[in-house]
Subunit: 567 residues, 2 copies
Amino acid sequence: MQRAAALVRRGCGPRTPSSWGRSQSSAAAEASAVLKVRPERSRRERILTLESMNPQVKAVEYAVRGPIVLKAGEIELELQRGIKKPFTEVIRANIGDAQAMGQQPITFLRQVMALCTYPNLLDSPSFPEDAKKRARRILQACGGNSLGSYSASQGVNCIREDVAAYITRRDGGVPADPDNIYLTTGASDGISTILKILVSGGGKSRTGVMIPIPQYPLYSAVISELDAIQVNYYLDEENCWALNVNELRRAVQEAKDHCDPKVLCIINPGNPTGQTMSGERPCPCLVELMGASLGRKKLTLHPVATANASLFTICCWCQVQSRKCIEDVIHFAWEEKLFLLADEVYQDNVYSPDCRFHSFKKVLYEMGPEYSSNVELASFHSTSKGYMGECGYRGGYMEVINLHPEIKGQLVKLLSVRLCPPVSGQAAMDIVVNPPVAGEESFEQFSREKESVLGNLAKKAKLTEDLFNQVPGIHCNPLQGAMYAFPRIFIPAKAVEAAQAHQMAPDMFYCMKLLEETGICVVPGSGFGQREGTYHFRMTILPPVEKLKTVLQKVKDFHINFLEKYA
Amino acid sequence: MQRAAALVRRGCGPRTPSSWGRSQSSAAAEASAVLKVRPERSRRERILTLESMNPQVKAVEYAVRGPIVLKAGEIELELQRGIKKPFTEVIRANIGDAQAMGQQPITFLRQVMALCTYPNLLDSPSFPEDAKKRARRILQACGGNSLGSYSASQGVNCIREDVAAYITRRDGGVPADPDNIYLTTGASDGISTILKILVSGGGKSRTGVMIPIPQYPLYSAVISELDAIQVNYYLDEENCWALNVNELRRAVQEAKDHCDPKVLCIINPGNPTGQTMSGERPCPCLVELMGASLGRKKLTLHPVATANASLFTICCWCQVQSRKCIEDVIHFAWEEKLFLLADEVYQDNVYSPDCRFHSFKKVLYEMGPEYSSNVELASFHSTSKGYMGECGYRGGYMEVINLHPEIKGQLVKLLSVRLCPPVSGQAAMDIVVNPPVAGEESFEQFSREKESVLGNLAKKAKLTEDLFNQVPGIHCNPLQGAMYAFPRIFIPAKAVEAAQAHQMAPDMFYCMKLLEETGICVVPGSGFGQREGTYHFRMTILPPVEKLKTVLQKVKDFHINFLEKYA
C-alpha cells in the first residue's frame, strides 16, 4: 500500500510509445492487431489473456473476415508503402458488400433517408413528393419526430406495419401481424438473439442447432459463443446443393446421442451455395424435351432424374425444387419438434429464370392448421442484400410465428437491454419493404435502378458459372440465387502436402496463394464447412461486369498455373 | 409420415386470427406482447417455453424498459381509446432520451449526416462548407464512398483517428492511439462485448464483475446473460453517492469466497446517481468560508468534513472529489488485479460549477508507468448523451489500454461476426468528437446550440434537486452530472404492506401508483439496486423547463398524498 502510494507520487508525465498517433488503413489496423505483437516491456502478467479469456469466444471462427482478410489488409498496406506486387490493388471478393464494389445506392432510399435525417429538406423542391411522404410518415412515428430518439425495443411501429404489409404481399395474401415483427440490427442480430433464447441444458441435454454445410459462418460463430452443439447436415453438391430430408434425418438421429436437437436453420437462397428452394415451374430440361420453349437463348439439357419424368417432375440437376422440398423440411421440423430458423436475406436475389422465391412462412401456412398453428418459425430479412445493398445501415427484421406469448415478452426484454436497433437502419428497412409503386413520382427511376442491379447480377451469375466451368479442375454449380459462387476446386496431392507443411487447410493455402499472386481475396471453403476431402472457395459476383471478367480470368490463369506447379 | 402427408394435402387457405392486421402504438405492442396472452387453441406443446428457454436470459432484468414501461404503454393505449384518466398524457421520464423530450438535434451534426446520406447535396449552396468538408472526409474513408458499405469491424479508420484526437485533447495531451479505438453500436454494445470476452471459469473460479449499487441495469443484465457473478459495491448515499475504496475492498474480499473477481466497473458521472468523480478545484464551501467568491448567486454552505480543512480540502457534502479518488480506485484495481471498465458516457454532462470531468485514462497515465503500462482499462463513450443526444443512431466507441495484442485480435474477430457497427452511427460519433471549431463557418450556431442544451440541463438539475428537497419524505443529492435525479423516498409501513400484498417491491408499488395517478413514468430504485430498506426512483431531468416544473409539482402532490394515504 505504501509502495503503491510512492508509485503514485513518482508518476509524472505521460509516456509516449512509438506507436502512438500512427495512422493506418482500417483493414491494416485489423491486420496489425492480430498479426503483430509489439515488443513487450517488463510487465506484470495481464488479467485478460488467451488463457484466461472466455473459452467460448476463443472458439469462435468467422472466415468471412478471418485470416485471409487480415492478410489482404497487410498486402494493401504494403502496396501503399510502394512494395512491388504482381498486381496494383486488392480485390475484396470475400464479402457481399455491393456498394463497396461500386453499386450505386437506390436514389429513392437515400432521398427518404436524407429527409428523415435533416427535416429542413422537407421544404426543398429538389426532393420528390413521394419521398417526402415516406419521410413524414416515418418521422411522425419517431419520438420527438426525430431519428435521434430511441425507438421501442421491437422497432418503430409504422415500420413494423410496413414490414407486415410487405410480407403479406410477398406471400400472396398469407397475412402477417406487426406484433410478430421485430426490427433488428441487420439479420445477424436477429439470428443471434433468437438462438440466445433457444439454447439451454447441459451435457447430453445441451441444445443442438442443425445447420447446413456449407453454412454462413455466423451460425457456427454464434453456436460457439453460446456453447451450443453444432449439428451438421450436408447439402448435396452433386444435386446443385439441394437440401435432402433424408440427410436431415441422418443428422438428427446421430445428434440425439450427444445433445438435444432443438433448432433447424435453413438458408434460402443458400449462402455460400446459392441454391434456391423454390419454384413451381416445371423443370426446364423436361420442358425442352417435351418441345416447349422457355424462350431462353441457350438451354443446357441435363440428365433427367427419373425414368418416369412428367412435365411437372424436376430433374435433379436443375434442382428447381417444387415447394415439395420446403414442405418436406417443415414436416420434418414438425415431426422432430424442431424450432425453424429461415434465413431469407437473399429473397430478392434469385437469378435463374426457372426459380422463384417461396418463403417458409407462406408454405407453412398453406400446409394447413396442424402446421400453421404449431410449427415455431423465425425468419429473417435485411437491408444489406437484395438490390438495395445497404449493408452499412445495419437494418433487418425478424418475423416470428407461433412464438409463445411469454417468450415474446422475454424477447422484448432481451432486446430492450440494447435499447433499440439503429433507427436509421429501421428507416432503411422501411424503404426496402415499401418502395415506390406504379403511379408514384419516383416509380420509374426506382424501377430502372432496381432492374439494372438485378439484371446485372443475373448476368454476372451466369458469366461466373460459365467461366468457372471452362477451367479444368474447377466445377461450379449454377448460381440460382444470392451473390456468391462456391466452386469446387481440385487441389493436387502435392499442394495438400505443401499446405500441411504450412499448417494450413489446403483451400486456405490455395486462397492465400491466390491472394498473394493476384490480389484477389476470396474465402476458403473450410471457413463454411465442406465434405472431407473436397475443397472450395466463396467469391462474390458483385464486381462490375468488366472487372468481374478480369477477376475470373485471373483466377483461371492462377488455377491452371497452380495445377501445373503442384502436378 | 402418412398422416402428415395427409395433413399437408388437407391444408388449404391461410387462417386469419382476429389479431392480424391490427395496428397499435409501438409501446402498446410491447405491452401486449408481455401482458396479454391470447386464448390458446388446441396446440401441441411448444418447443420454446419459459421452462425450456435459456435460463440465463430468463434471469435478465432491465428496469429502464421493464414492467413500469409496459404499463405506461398500456395506459397510453387506454388514453387513445378515450378511457378517462386524471391526466391527458404519459410523460416518459424513465429513460435518457433527449430528443424524444423535445431537444432539437445539433444542426451541424444533422447537416453532415444528410450530406453523407445523399451526396448529391454536396452541390447544394444551402449547406455550409465546413459540414461538406466533414462529410467528404467521412465518405472518402467508406468503401465505395458510401455509408451503405460495411466498414472494417473496428470502425471507419478516419473516425477512429478523430476519436483518438478528441481523447488526446480532452485529456490535456495524454495521447490516444487509433489502434486502441473500437467503434461500437452505442456504448452498451462495447460494454457487453468486452464483458463477453472477460467472463470465464466455473464454480468458485467463475468471473466476478464488480458493479456499483445503484447501477445502470445494463450491467446486471449482461452479467446474467453471461452467467457471471455480480459483485456489488455500494455507493455512499450520505456522501453524495461517493465511491469509497474501503467499500471496494470489503466487496472484493467477500466475493473471493465464491468467485474470481476480475472486473471492476465504474460509472462516472454516475447513472442513476449523477455523482462526478472529478474536479481539481477547491471545495466551494471552503472557498466561501475563506472569503473567496466563485461569483455564484447563491452558495449553500455545507458542514466541513474535517477540522483542519485547508483551501484544497473538499468537504464531504460537496463530494467534489479530487483526482485522489480516481487514483485510489486505479490503485485498488492494480493491487487486486482487476480489469477496469470506465463507463464515461456522461462526460459532457457535468453541471455543478465545482466539478470537472476527469477520465480514468488520463489519471491512469498521470500516475506513472507502473500503472500506465499495466492497468488494463476499457472506457466507453456514446452519441446518445452529452448535448447531442443522438440515441437513435446507436453510435459509440470503446478505448482499450494495455489490452494484450492477442486479445485485440480476439476482439476484432468477435466484432467481425456482427460485421460492423452502423456506419451512420459511426459518422454521428465523428461529429460528436469533431464538432466545429472557432473560425469555422458553423462554429457560432453550434456553440449557441450546445450552450443552450447544457445551460438548460444545468438549470434543470438544480431545479430538480431544490424542488425534491422541499418535499417532506424526499431527499435528493445534488445532481452533479448525467441526466437523472435519484431521490430517496420515504415509504410508510402501511404502503410497504400494501406492496407486499400486490407482490411488488415497495418502490415499484410507489412508481406504479405515481404512473396511474399522474401519468408520470419513472423507474423504481429496485431496478438499479439500493441498500435494503431504502427506496428511490430514477427520473430524467430532460423535459423542457416548464414541463419539468409541472412534473415535479405533480410528484410533490402525489407524494404528500401518498404519505397521508398510508400514514
